[in-house]
Symmetry: C2
Subunit: 366 residues, 2 copies
Amino acid sequence: MGRKRTKSGKIRLAEVAELAGVSPITASRFFRNPEALSVAKRTRVESAAKELGYVPNLAARALASQRTEVIGVLIPSLTNNVFSDVLRGIYDASEGSRYSIQLSNTRYSILQEEKLLRLFLAQKPAGLIVTGIDQTTESRAMLEAADCPIVQIMEIGPDPVDMMIGFSHYDAARAAVAHLFEQGRRKIGFVGARMDPRVQRRLDGYVSAMKDAALFEQRLVVTTATPTSVTLGGALFTDLLAREPNLDAVFCANDDLALGVLFECRRREIAVPEQIAIVGFNDLEFMASAVPTLTSVRTNRYEMGKTAATMLIEAIDGRRPEQPVLDLGFRVIERQSSSPRHSDSRPTVSGVGTANKMVALPSSHD
Amino acid sequence: MGRKRTKSGKIRLAEVAELAGVSPITASRFFRNPEALSVAKRTRVESAAKELGYVPNLAARALASQRTEVIGVLIPSLTNNVFSDVLRGIYDASEGSRYSIQLSNTRYSILQEEKLLRLFLAQKPAGLIVTGIDQTTESRAMLEAADCPIVQIMEIGPDPVDMMIGFSHYDAARAAVAHLFEQGRRKIGFVGARMDPRVQRRLDGYVSAMKDAALFEQRLVVTTATPTSVTLGGALFTDLLAREPNLDAVFCANDDLALGVLFECRRREIAVPEQIAIVGFNDLEFMASAVPTLTSVRTNRYEMGKTAATMLIEAIDGRRPEQPVLDLGFRVIERQSSSPRHSDSRPTVSGVGTANKMVALPSSHD
DNA sequence: AGGAACGTTGACAGCGCTACCAGCAACGAC
DNA sequence: GTCGTTGCTGGTAGCGCTGTCAACGTTCCT
C-alpha cells in the first residue's frame, strides 16, 4: 500500500533519516542491526523507509563497508539438468537472505574456472560456491587465500578448501554395479560421455566393482569426451554391442544416455530387462515414467544446492556449521529395467537402503 | 606471466597512476576510453596496470558513475530446459562484454516478477531482459519508466516496451495442428501443463485451427496448472483417452508431455503413429532419438537468448538495432510419430519451410 | 602573426553509505 | 553519592572512483 512515484529527487538514507527525525547513521544502523535501536526509533525509521520507498544503494554500501553481499557460483554447465536442479536450490536458499547470486559457467574447463575465480575474487564476494574438487593448483591457491567462506559442491573428497557437500560418485557407481550383480548380471558394460571428473570417478567405481568380481574387461567400457545426449547414448550403446554382443547389462553414466540406450534397444528389438538390463545415474524425472521404467541412482541435487547456499550464508554470518563436510548420499532406485530376467513386469520402484550411506566425519554430534 | 601476490596493501587506481607517472584521472580514462589518451600514456598505464595486477573496484565505479554494468534477467524457471537454453545464450553473449548477468527466477508468478523488477530497477541496471509480454500493470509502468534498454524474450506481441525477440506461439501451434490435418488426422487432442501465458497461446492456436476446420470439441482439451513432467504427460493422456477413445492425434504443449504420451501409448499398446499421432513442442534433443522419433515444433532458444543479450548490449552502448522487434520463427520438424497411418516406418526428419516465417517490421533493410 | 580549434591532461568535488570513535543518559554497584 | 558500565545516538572522515570543467600545448586557419 501507499506506493508512490518518487520523482522529486532520489531517496537516500539521509531523506529517510530526516523524515524519521534521526541521524543518518541511526537510520543506517536500522538496516544492518535493528536490535541496536530503541523501539521508538526503530519503528520511526521503519515507517519512514516504507513511506519513501527507500531502497539502499548497494554500490555505496559495498564501497563503504569494503565488502559485497554477493555469492559467487561457478558451475560447469547451464543446460545440464543436474546443475539446474542444484541452481534452483541455491537460488531458493538465497532468496530472502540479503545475498545475491552471481553465476558463471565454466563449461567444464578448469582453466576457464581459474579465470572466472580470479574475476570473482577481485570483487570480494561474501562467499563462493564452486563445483567439484578438481581445481587447478592456481585456483586452489586462490581459494585458500580467499577471505570468504567457500563451499565445494557435487562431490566429496579429501581435504576440502573450506566446506564441502556432495556424495561419492565412486561409491554410487559401485552400488549400481553391485545391484546389477544381485540381479544376476555379469557382462556389464559402461557408457559414459563428457568424462568430466565426476563421470570419471563413476567409471572408476564401475571398474573397481567389476575387478572385484573378476569381471572387468576393457572392451566393456565405451566413453567419449563429447557432451552427453540421448542420441549419443544410442550411438555409444551400438558401439558397445559391437564389441560385446553377449552383453547383459549397461551402466550409464547419466540418465540421458540411459534413455538413449533404451530407445536403441527398442530399435534393435532387444528386450529390456530380459536380454539387457539398464541402469542410469541421477534419477531424473522421466526415468520412472519410461517403458520399462528405468533403474537409476538417485542423487539429492536440489537439496545439495539449497544446503550449500544455506551453509554458506550461515558461515558468512559467522555461524560456521559443526559439520563442514556433508555427504548427502545416494540411493539406487530399482525399477523394471534391471529386474531379474524372468520379471513379472510389474514395477519395482522400491528404494533400497543399502546404498544410502553417510560417511563418518570428524566432530559429528547432532 | 608475471602474476604476483599483492599482499602489501591494495592496488587502487592511484597506485597504477603513480607507477605510470600520470594523474589518477588519466588512468581512469584509460579504462573507460583508451582512445582519448596519447599513445605514450596509454602504454604506460597499460603496463602499469598489468604489472600491479590492478582490478577496478566496481562498487566505487558504480557509485561514482551512477550506473552499473549489470544486466538483469528475469525468467520463470531455472529447471525448464527451454530456459536453460535461453540462459546459455544470454551468458554466452555477455561473456567478453563488460556486463555481468544478474539472474532471478520469477517461478511463473507475475507478482513475484513485479517484486523482483522493483528490486532490479532500484540498482539501476544497464539493461534488462524479461520473459514474455504478460507483466502486471505496475510492472509495465516500471519498465516503461526505466531509463535502460529492455528486451522482452520468448514471444512477440503488440506494443513492445522496448525491444522484443521471440516468435508466435499461437502461429506455431496452428502450424502443428495444420501438419496433423495434412496427415489426415481429425480427432486431435491437446495436452497442456502449467498453462503459463505462452502455453495458453499455444492452446489458443490449437483451438482456432480446430475451429477453422470445424473439428473443435472442448473435451479434446486436457490441461492442468501443475508443473509439467513426463509422468504428467502420461496421466493427462490417460485422461484424454477416457474422454475420447477415438482420438487419432495428440498435440502436446511441450516435449516432456509428448514423451510421457509416447510411453503411455507403449504401456497401453497403442501404435504410434498408426493409431495415434504425437506432436510435441520445442524440439528438445531427445525427440529425434525416441522410438518412434517424435515430431515437434523447433524453436530457436539458444539463438533467442544470445541475440537478446547482444541486442541489449548494443543498445546500452548506444547502437540501437534497426529492428527492435525480432521474430525468430519456428519450424515443424516432421518425424515418425506423425507420419501417415500406413507409414513405412522410415524416418522423415525433414524440416518444412512453410511454418518458418518472419514478421514484417518497420525499417527493415539489411 | 594572431587567434580559434583541437587533443590531451589534471584539479576538484562528491556519489551514498558505513567504520570508528565520542558523547550522553540511565542504571547499578559500592 | 560517586564511579563505572551499558545502551543508544551522533559526528567525522573517508571507501575508490568518475563527472565536470578548466588549463595546457599544439596545430591549423585566416
